[in-house]
């Protein structure tokens, strides 16, 4: 665990007790079984917003607390532990980052306070195909209008503000589009991890540009990636701890199965990977906070290591639980499904391995 400031420790403790009390995995299960349209619990989201979590990376002058990305990571890590579904990542982190980095004073003044108080859900609309490829954009911005198809937009159905990557006169950039524009058509996607997402068609929807073009886009994506990685860290830790607890109580052959050395060594491997992952995730968040030139590289490192670790831990969670882990009544399946969705989000391990090496010139 990074060395935290007193405020960060308090924040983390507050999130932790809220999550354990108000948002256990059963909350996600209930939401899934209710076939919620929003794909998150509105009351819980209002709680979160009221506690100021949606404004953690937003400057104080625009209604946030300017607490930074490491702090946002702490929140997401705790939320990740119980797989809490909320628009925090899409809105309070990713979209807010886009406005903070690329918005004019007017744009910031309009949107950031609403995002910080949770009344507006904003999100990024980036990908156009089945794979994350932010440099491959067919969507156009011409004469103030956005035209094109975006897919797999996180919280795409809940969002009222869309931040869309498109090709304009100066190349790829980000644009603000209101979701209620008549040129916007949305289709809900039903996902294995029960989170909210949609496909979005833009037919000449009115849009206004953010500044900074592709450079801003990359920075925004890196912030989203680091946030996903922080959430994955919490999920993977919880999955590991649940599994470890089971190894200590499940008896076969007259022994708790955690006494079998082959399982012990696999547990040690998971623990090791989790420690390495934490280091990478925290370093990525810290590098964003200090605007380090190494941030991009560290983010790709974190997303990759964390992705591989959550992949392993979620598979081992099912395997080590045996049959009971295969049942829907157990939580293992939720972690497994979330792991793959989080791995794919904003670039999977293969994408980030390639990017890491390219950044380093090989």
């Amino acid at each position: 665990m990074a060395v935290l400031s007193e405020e960060q420790s308090m924040l983390r403790d507050a999130v932790r007790s809220w999550v354990q009390e108000k948002s256990p995995v059963t909350a996600l299960r209930k939401m899934r079984d209710s076939a919620s349209e929003l794909c998150y619990d509105l009351a819980a989201w209002n709680d979160m917003a009221q506690m100021g979590w949606a404004g953690v990376i937003i400057p104080e002058e625009y209604g946030g607390s300017d607490f930074g990305y490491l702090s946002m990571g702490l929140i997401l890590e705790e939320l990740g532990r119980t797989l809490t579904a909320s628009p925090l990542l899409a809105s309070g982190l990713a979209a807010a980052s886009a406005l903070v980095l690329g918005g004019s004073h007017t744009q910031k003044s309009l949107w950031l306070p609403q995002i910080a108080e949770g009344s507006t859900i904003a999100t990024l609309a980036i990908d156009e195909g089945s794979r994350h490829a932010p440099d491959k954009v067919s969507t156009t911005f011409i004469a103030g209008k956005i035209t094109g198809n975006k897919t797999f937009v996180l919280e795409g159905m809940a969002a009222s503000l869309l931040i869309v990557s498109a090709k304009g006169a100066d190349g790829i950039g980000l644009y603000l589009v209101k979701a209620n524009d008549p040129g916007v058509k949305r289709t809900k996607l039903s996902l294995a991890d029960s989170r909210g997402a949609g496909d979005i068609e833009f037919n000449g929807a009115a849009a206004e540009p953010l500044a900074g073009g592709e450079a801003t886009l990359e920075k925004v994506l890196d912030r989203a990636r680091a946030g996903v990685a922080a959430e994955m860290l919490g999920s993977a830790l919880q999955a590991f701890e649940i599994t470890l607890d089971y190894l200590k109580v499940r008896v076969q052959f007259g022994q708790v199965i955690g006494s079998f050395q082959a399982l012990q060594h696999r547990a040690a491997k998971m623990f090791t990977d989790l420690e390495l992952s934490r280091s990478a995730v925290e370093a990525a968040l810290a590098a964003i906070d200090t605007d380090s030139p190494e941030a991009a590289q560290l983010v790709s490192l974190a997303k990759t290591i964390m992705g591989d670790t959550f992949h392993l831990v979620s598979n081992e969670m099912v395997q080590m639980h045996g049959g009971i882990g295969m049942t829907d009544a157990h939580d293992a399946g939720f972690y497994l499904k979330r792991a793959r969705a989080a791995e794919a989000a904003f670039g999977n391990q293969a994408f980030h391995r390639d990017r890491y090496a390219k950044i380093l010139g090989y």
């Binding site: 897919t151 809900k188 996607l189 294995a192 076969q252 099912v318 395997q319 045996g322 049959g323 390639d354």
Partner: protein
């Protein structure tokens, strides 16, 4: 029941082809068998009846018990000829893969005559009462008990992970008949499922389906004549049955799932050299394909080497682990290839192939758990084949 068949391969091939042409309803060509619990069409019923009567659903079982009585070579020719016209084998399930071969080895003549022909005709569906909540990998710690009531046993207890219990007519079941011993207190009994005291509850799985059930037994009856093998000697029979199970699994799993190179060409595309565009992914696809290829060659080698042997040997244990690992890895790679489209659960936003791959990925996680978990298989290899000892008990 069975016409005489020729021992001359090319003659047998002609006979088989003729028979298939006569009996296989061409509307069924390239279709698959109906799922468990789904009512059969007239074509499907007629094809099942024909194959059942001929005994060719179980081509190498003795003709005396309703099998085909064919040699391995003839069975291979038959399989080729069936494949040629896209004809599935309508005789399947637990009875074929596991229980039938076991009963053929351990059953009395009366038991074989009673049960095997009905399995060979698919007239009776069987389910397997083995695992219990506290007895998974450590199967021999099972508690479900049978009390001796003279001409019958009375069975009480719980079973779990029973495939298709909700559709089964009969159950082959491991029960405890002596609580003072572990392995030597287990018996292997058969009983019909349509009797009072059996409560079957499907288990909902992470893939969203319910292929397995829990079974709760309260004073369920099994006739003495339906005890297989001696009293308290069920463990030996169970181990043999598990060998058949592993053998059937290992031959099956590795080739389940998507054709990865093709799927990747479609979803990921190729670069100007003709290689898949994602080189990192490509490397892993190649490794998987090679592993699957080597397993296929191993299965072929094993069949060849077993010529004249008595059945699946302990080496099938390696095939179960490699088979389930190949299958699971293939499913993981398919998901990765699909990218965002590999995250769908249902709805129009995804194709049925995409949704099927997601469900298959989740369902396939069971492959390294059931039929002897991956860990149990590794124990078997290291102890039975490699001769590594148990830890000394100090």
């Amino acid at each position: 029941m069975s016409d005489p068949v020729s021992n001359e391969p090319s003659l047998f091939r002609d006979q088989a082809r003729d028979w298939i042409n006569t009996h296989f309803p061409s509307r069924l060509a390239w279709t698959v068998p109906a799922a468990a619990g789904v009512a059969l069409t007239e074509d499907q019923l007629s094809w099942r009846a024909a194959m059942g009567a001929k005994g060719w659903g179980v081509p190498t079982w003795p003709a005396a018990y309703g099998g085909g009585g064919l040699s391995e070579a003839q069975a291979a020719i038959l399989a080729q000829e069936l494949a040629q016209v896209g004809a599935y084998n309508p005789i399947g399930g637990m009875g074929i893969m596991m229980f039938g071969p076991t009963l053929l080895e351990y059953g009395t003549e009366a038991q074989k005559l009673e049960h095997i022909p009905r399995i060979a005709k698919a007239e009776v569906q069987w389910c397997q009462g083995f695992s219990e909540p506290g007895a998974g990998s450590d199967l021999a710690s099972l508690q479900c008990k049978a009390e001796d009531k003279g001409d019958h046993f009375v069975i009480s207890g719980q079973k779990i992970w029973t495939s298709g219990a909700q559709y089964a007519d009969w159950c082959f079941c491991l029960v405890r008949t002596d609580t003072s011993k572990k392995h030597e207190g287990i018996s292997f009994v058969l009983f019909p499922m349509d009797q009072p005291g059996i409560d079957v509850r499907p288990i909902s799985l992470i893939a969203g389906n319910s292929p397995f059930c829990e079974m709760f037994f309260t004073d369920v009856k099994a006739a003495k004549k339906d005890l297989v093998g001696p009293l308290n000697a069920g463990w030996t029979i169970a181990k043999r049955l598990l060998q058949f199970e592993r053998s059937s699994i290992s031959g099956r799993d590795a080739f389940v799932g998507a054709h990865l190179p093709q799927l990747a060409r479609d979803y990921v595309g190729s670069d100007e050299t003709g290689r898949l565009a994602d080189h990192d992914l490509r490397t892993r696809i190649i490794r998987l394909e090679m592993q699957a290829h080597a397993l296929k060659l191993t299965a072929a080698r094993s069949r060849l080497e077993a010529t004249g042997n008595e059945g699946p040997s302990a080496t099938t244990s390696i095939m179960k682990n490699v088979g389930s690992s190949v299958m699971q890895m293939r499913a993981e790679l398919a998901l990765e290839i699909l990218g965002n489209r590999g995250l769908g659960w249902n709805g129009d936003g995804f194709t049925s192939t995409e949704l099927g791959l997601v469900r298959g990925w989740l369902g396939g996680k069971a492959a390294s758990i059931y039929g002897g978990s991956q860990e149990i298989q590794s124990n078997i290899v290291s102890k039975r084949i490699l001769g590594l000892p148990d830890p000394a008990r100090a």
